[in-house]
Symmetry: C2
DNA sequence: TTCATTTTTGTAATGATTACAGTGATAGTA
DNA sequence: TACTATCACTGTAATCATTACAAAAATGAA
């Protein structure tokens, strides 16, 4: 399984005509293996366990190269830090306002923009939704029940 | 006209139960008058011309208060800095990758998310599009023509 | 006035990202 | 093997938007 991902990473890099250097391979493999929209720092922290001498600049270097080559996409749903996604197919992101977790959704259909954007050349569409995930809705209900008991 | 906007700003603040202090009024009036999605710094630079002692912290204070009260919305289409929008009706934003200008669009209908997000409580939807505005498409065409002439 | 509360200011800290210069590895060539 | 050019990688410093915090100023009721 680990082999598959790193082989896929190597192939992706070669297809774009860039050398699959050790760090590039590690970063891209990590993104393929972890479709959880990690931040640059999360990637760095994880890979540092293996590559003791890793520098954060190298992670940023790899990531901005991948972005330029359209191997990965950046996700700016969390306004603090940029996240990275090796799934480049068009899909939307939902972030839970309570637990901050990010979920993918893939039915992002026919936005019928009508005439409004007819003269604009649209190259990329991003869908960011915010709300409460099922688990956090549950928690909130329990809290309300608890508070109601206390106040009565 | 200026009067109208500042009166509207005052009313909006009073309706939310907060005091329409001078700076809050100025910031909110500015946002109502300038639906161009200004950054905190742009607001600061403009208002500073009138209020010589204005501090940037005050602008941020006002803006985060407005966000909390849902008087304005933040727009994070430009990954560098947050922009602010006094138009809180649901609408999307398009940013031109060349001239960086931001355009509103309002036909953002029925995203038919199907079952996928059924169990999620969606509180806000953001639509960020990127591409080329009509003017910049034109410029690009001209450049191509120019380069073609040069190379032939 | 007095005093508490709120608003505003100024400066310092934070933290993600970028700039940059130097070091190390690699590969081709003589 | 030595030389050299290019590229990958590292470490540190700079940048810059935003936030934290404490002090000063304004407000407004008693
Ligand atoms: Mn995703
Ligand atoms: Mn808008
Ligand atoms: Zn949640
Ligand atoms: Zn443009």
């Amino acid at each position: 399984m680990a082999l598959i991902y790193s082989e896929k990473a190597a192939k992706m890099l070669l297809e774009k005509g860039i050398k699959p250097s050790p760090i590039r391979l590690k970063v891209l493999t990590f993104l393929l293996k972890n479709p959880t929209h990690p931040t640059a720092d999360e990637i760095y922290q994880e890979l540092q366990k293996e590559i003791l001498t890793l520098s954060k600049t190298s992670v940023y270097n790899a990531l901005s190269l991948f972005l330029r080559l359209n191997l990965v996409k950046s996700v700016n749903i969390d306004e603090k830090e940029t996240r990275y996604d090796a799934n480049i197919e068009e899909h939307g992101h939902f972030q839970c306002l309570s637990c901050k977790q990010i979920y993918d959704f893939f039915h992002v259909p026919r936005l019928e923009e009508k005439e409004e954007l007819n003269d604009f050349m649209i190259k990329e569409k991003r869908y960011y939704y915010y709300g409460l995930c099922p688990e956090c809705q549950q928690k909130e209900e329990n809290n309300e029940k608890f508070n109601w008991n206390k106040n009565s």
